[in-house]
Amino acid sequence: MEINIFQALLLAVMASLTSVIGALGTTYSWYTLSRPLVASLVVGLILGDVKTSIMVGAAIQVVYIALVTPGGTVSADLRAVSYIGIPLAVAAVKGAGLNPASAQGAGLAVSIGALVGTVGTVMFYSTATMNLIWQQIGWKAIDKLNYRIIYLTNFIFPLISHFVIAFLPTFFITYYGTDIVANLKEWLPMDGIPMKTMFTLGSLLPAVGIGILLKQVVQNPVDLIIFFFGFTLAAALKINLVGAAFVGAMIAFLNYKIIMVGAGKKSASHEEDL
């Protein structure tokens, strides 16, 4: 199966709009349009085979069903999974004459998804980095109270990043990629250095996201004690986040009382107004 120029253009547009930092906003783009299941409907309409596309999309969706991106760290940017991976997988599956719901069909789809997922990760970090340029501009606009530039910085300039980093690659990969895809597993085997490094990086990067959050709350090294405590709750006690928040609230409650006592007020008063 071939993907024509028009179809490739449409897919490239979709890839630009979605992503966690996609131009359509978190709720529409990241949490809806970039979910493989939803995307597979769009892709199916573009490619003209909704049924196959959705079967492929569903298989891929299962892998990413609980994808969380704490603190701006993305282990797989779904825009690539969805708008490069699904079309190529549809093409590959149909090319090989496989049933998309069969073991081989689903397996192939998921492999392609994993592969381009790492490509998406590169896209995500590149876009975020390129956006630094626009923020330079926006930052200067603040002092001049130039509201327009601020809005442009947040909404319009980043489209350039998306064009360069998502649109163009998506277009070329989907347009030329159908032939390549069959041999991808041989070119980029999972036990080769590139893929190993990519996936290792995927496990390391969330640390940066957490590190950024941590930087906000821990200025003083002594406060790391609190962080270690939270880490211990989950690592050693296997408590989940809601539980950690409950325990944290208990500790914070004592802390609140301490500060209030230090401020010379009985903590009892006003407490109920909280």
Binding site: M55, L145, M190, A207, I212, F227, A234, V247
Partner: protein, 285 residues
């Protein structure tokens, strides 16, 4: 003479946030610009002179990041506080507003990430997958409508709640009590971030030493393999992840590196680690 924001302005604040909370994302400022865009209509309506406008706009320049959907509450609170400040409450200064913003963003990031993409979305998707089993588009449509519908309603609801809270907060959360409250919220946030780190980072090493065999008490010949990961877990579970976070925190806080630089360092760490066999995800197609 008290100023009250029009419904229209509040709606504008909400929708700017809704549509733009992450569109201008960088690892340096994350949601700072998105937040500012939401506050601009509010600032424009509340103040007519540039001095006040500039002061208030600058209030929102510090770093901001949270789970953006549950985070619409913080936007609501800020709108409420800004309105109160415009009405002459002098206790509401930059420090106070940013204290509250900073205090809430940690807990809400942790809670929001685990409840929305971590819990709610997987449920919806499970249902949707069921509806699409045979390649039917029903599941996709179902998910899109239900998710967007409920989430939009939810975001608007807590935005409004936040706005009310922000307004009322003035009477309550001021002075030392505000400090105590904020510091305690930051404490919860730090604890939650600690749990987050332990739950969501899974750095592990593949290094193992094959040390021949030895004879145990029963005289059996036993393979003597030392898995570094097991040893590290014995010291403290998920120790490598803890060290990695501390490392990034150290680079950013003490060495003043930008997140991008830190990420590049991690690329090198990953590559070297793979080459020397320390890291090995052990995956296959």
């Amino acid at each position: 003479m008290s100023v009250k924001l029009t419904k229209k302005t509040k709606d504008q604040a909400f929708w700017w946030w809704y549509n733009g909370n992450l569109t201008g994302f960088t690892h340096q400022h994350m949601q700072t610009f998105g937040f500012m865009c939401a506050m601009i209509p509010v600032i424009k309506e509340l103040y007519k002179d540039d001095t006040h406008r500039l002061r208030s706009l600058k209030t929102y320049t510090p770093f901001f990041n949270t789970e953006p959907q549950i985070g619409s509450m913080v936007v609501g609170i800020s709108v409420g506080l800004e309105e109160a400040r415009a009405n002459g409450h002098e206790e509401i200064d930059d420090e106070m507003i940013n204290g509250i913003r900073a205090g809430l963003m940690g807990p809400l990031a942790g809670i929001g990430d685990s409840l929305i993409p971590g819990t709610y979305i997987p449920i919806l998707l499970s249902i949707a997958l069921g509806l699409s089993t045979d390649g039917s588009p029903l599941g996709a449509i179902f998910y899109a409508i239900v998710y967007i519908g409920t989430m939009t309603f939810f975001m608007k609801y807590i935005f409004d709640k936040g706005y009310e809270l922000g307004g009322r907060a003035v009477d309550v959360v001021i002075g030392e009590q505000a400090t105590a409250f904020r510091e305690s919220m930051v404490m919860v946030g730090t604890i939650v971030i600690g749990s987050l780190a332990a739950s969501w980072i899974g750095v592990s090493t593949a290094l193992k030493f094959d040390l021949g065999t030895y004879y145990n008490a029963a005289g059996e010949q036993v393979a003597n393999v030392l898995r570094l990961q097991d040893t590290l877990n014995g010291i403290f579970p998920n120790l490598l992840s803890l060290l990695t976070v501390l490392f990034t925190w150290y680079l950013m806080t003490k060495k003043k590196m930008s997140p991008i630089t830190v990420m590049l360092i991690l690329v090198v760490v990953a590559l070297v680690g793979v080459l020397i066999g320390f890291f090995d995800p052990g995956l296959s197609y």
